[in-house]
Symmetry: C3
Subunit: 357 residues, 3 copies
């Protein structure tokens, strides 16, 4: 669906994509991409984008963001704070990440206390550069608060390269709590993307490196795992926690009830494999009876394919329009409700949830 | 859907519920509720209710039930035996519950043997007061028979306030087996409602107490957990075990195959979050190809909102009528079958499963 | 659906099956079955079957297969290699299975090395007798490669009747790896059928023995369990691993992503309880957006009821035709695509996946 829309609407391709037409279409796209009308800023205007957010390592100096600001261009490109590499204490390059953190923060990170301090400083910097949100990729949404002494001890073991897998798991669970605490304090919206088994295919990883495919979903548990975090921060004024999933079984069983109950919790749109016609339709049908529409955050795509942006948003709008029309014809809602809900799903909810207005 | 139906049909509200009309509609409802036509017994007659069952602590003297009987009123209000508070040996008030049990049963409960004896006595009393069923709310449907010595030892530890979490889990699993044994003996229908993480939000609990919301479902396993119970009692003549779930993934994977196989097992209607249009439709589509219609128990609502009863049953009937009509137009069943199945789903199955005729 | 089709199309029954007509219909079927037109080879021709595969114990001498070959009949009946009884080292009759293996292979099986050698020899024999595939029924798709020393030690413990449950689990996981290695070498297609809790009802088992019903599905995990096997063989040229499931939640979460990524992985059709109208439709909707059609293997029934074969394939074709028509009317695919995909789903994919052409 994306390709069909993108080829026709963005690149003006009229013929069907087949093995016979592929080379012709490739040449046609390459020719278009060489023209000024297909430069990123031109497409930004043509796609009618209001805001585009990147995800950036917590240690990034955000030089490109600064360059955009300095250029005087009117587009709104915002960074998002992603501290995963600093939090996974048993990852091979963790110590080098800390060095980078010391460097960009100007804080000599050598223990748990200075580490937390430096993270807070980086969040403040991101916020100053326009960030409104953080993002956390975790194997599971396990949360558990450690005492300062426990956190310091694990940090110290990790510093010596002696952290166990269980240390790492507990530290990540603790840092999700810490990130929630900081979000309550600084107002950055917290997003959690759990449940992907990364780099499943070692041959692919050996040849191309990380994040090049072969990430396979796993069953994910939210009710018990998020209990410590939500028990402490789930009712906090102004806190927003946006949950994503790769496990559709949690939509009706765990996520919708959590979003329906806790003021802080909102549901992100269907992610990755489920950012599709059937996936989005299943999402609405599974969560809406418990969580409604207004505990969801509208549609945000997480594409790396810039020209696919219009297609992805168009598809999301069609799914929601279809869903709403179905409710109208069965008299579950009336047309007046449907108009308001359609605008919310397509625009207002994303703007509000991510504090972009 | 419930609210729309209830406002229109029960309270005669004609206008749409909005923030502008809310106060007017509230006043209109309040005025109606003050009239004799809205007294509980008048609504019982108007709603055309044949039987209404309450759930009652196993230690309840059922004084209100006795009062109804003594009043000479013709309505049929039956108690249901719910022993959870006596079975959860690690719950804070367990010892006080035992005192209450001693008091109402007239049996001095001080060890496992007298405890079992007192429970049997309470079941007999409930049955004499019209009960046809028991109900068991458990974290998981884990079952495992303990030896008498093991059961006595755990009971004794619990008596001293020294039961571990594992003691409690094993004791609950054992007591589900004991309750099945008693049901085989006394004919009370056994219902199991597993899988709710109760009181998830401590702030809510601190302010309002237990059972006021913030109960979040968890993944639930039936195939292995129920194996000991079903291996022993699943083929027992006259035994009925009605299973409910908050985990829709078990409908097609575990519950329908169990209900399709074991004579004792029947499936309760979609519970709680799934007592909804989509939830009920998913239930029929997920279970019917394996378990059919006649291994389900029709619709029973578990409402605390008395005026919602007609709406809830009306919705359930519409879902089933819709499901059956869909089977008819695709020639899976014919109209003759559909009529019989519709009557079963709306009336006969509940009457039979709960032994109410 | 199967019965209605089978009674009408295979047995010419015109009246509706009811308690009143049952005896008449039974007699009518019995009379038909006694005629030459209902002998197996006549039905093979009438059903227009091209290939029919049996599953056979790895120790089977395949005498019936040899008899068919010797008979000169033109039907194509192929064996399938099923080594479960040789692999489950803690099963009661395992040692006797090894004796049978020694006998049919002519290899004196007394240690791990000779055991592997004999299995390889049996696969070669099956292949020579026309087999194109193997089949593996396992409690879970757990895989983990043991060192030779570990495998030898477990085998030796099992030989003495001293293998633990954990030994057995690890050995089965190791043997799945070994079977994959042999498939890479000999080209036999590897099928895995995991997740059934066998013989759940001991009363049924005591009366009728194994595989007579009461097999209940369990939740099944593929992403982590298959990681060792796929990391080693998932990209191997010419290797095909066909995965089945009794846990529909894995379709979109684990199986479709695995099939979409690994060249070796293909998805078998909905199995057992899910070989049904709703089950097959859910399968297509859950997997196609991630894995497409061409990573599935078309339809293969696993019936023990010979006259049901036409009904089952007819139903599968109708489901797929319905699914494709739905994609056409919504302009997701065009008619040209649909014709090609329909032929693939009904015929070509099964032929290719099982190397039958």
């Amino acid at each position: 669906m994306w390709l069909a829309h993108e080829l026709a609407d963005v690149f003006g391709v009229q013929e069907k994509l087949t093995s016979a037409s592929a080379q012709r279409i490739y040449d046609q796209i390459a020719a278009k991409l060489a023209t000024p009308e297909f430069r990123p800023r031109a497409l930004y205007a043509r796609f009618n984008i209001e805001v585009l957010c990147t995800t950036d390592a917590a240690t990034s100096p955000l030089a490109h963001h600064q360059a955009i600001r300095d250029s005087g261009w009117g587009g709104r490109i915002l960074p998002t704070f992603r501290p995963d590499a600093l939090v996974n204490v048993d990852a091979p390059g963790w110590r080098q990440e800390l060095d980078r953190l010391s460097e960009v923060s100007g804080i000599d990170v050598g223990d748990y206390r200075s580490y937390i301090h430096a993270l807070e400083q980086r969040r403040a910097f991101f916020k100053q550069m326009g960030a409104t949100a953080t993002d956390h990729g975790v194997a599971s949404p396990y949360t558990q608060e450690l005492t300062d002494a426990e956190a310091e001890a694990i940090f110290a073991r990790a510093w010596r390269g002696a952290a166990s897998a269980d240390d790492a798991r507990r530290f990540v669970g603790h840092m999700l709590m810490e990130m929630a605490r900081m979000s309550v304090e600084d107002g950055l919206v917290m997003q959690v993307h759990p449940g992907s088994f990364r780099n499943h295919n070692p041959a692919l990883f050996a040849r191309f490196g990380s994040d090049m495919g072969a990430d396979i979903p796993t069953a994910t548990e939210y009710t018990r795992n998020l209990h410590p975090l939500l028990a402490k921060y789930g009712n906090a004024a102004g806190f927003t926690l946006i949950l994503f999933t790769l496990d559709e079984t949690t939509f009706s069983r765990e996520l919708a009830p959590l979003a329906g109950h806790y003021p802080a919790v909102k549901l992100g749109p269907p992610w990755w494999f489920f950012d599709s016609w059937n996936g989005m339709m299943r999402f609405r049908k599974a969560v809406s009876e418990t969580a409604g529409l207004y505990n969801t955050v509208g549609f945000n795509d997480d594409t790396r394919a810039y020209p696919s942006i219009p297609a992805r948003h168009d598809l999301a709008r069609r799914v929601d329009a279809n869903w709403l029309a179905n409710l109208v014809v069965r008299s579950v809602i009336d047309l007046e409700d449907a108009h308001e809900m359609a605008h919310a799903a397509a625009y207002a909810l994303a703007q509000q949830a991510y504090r972009l207005s």
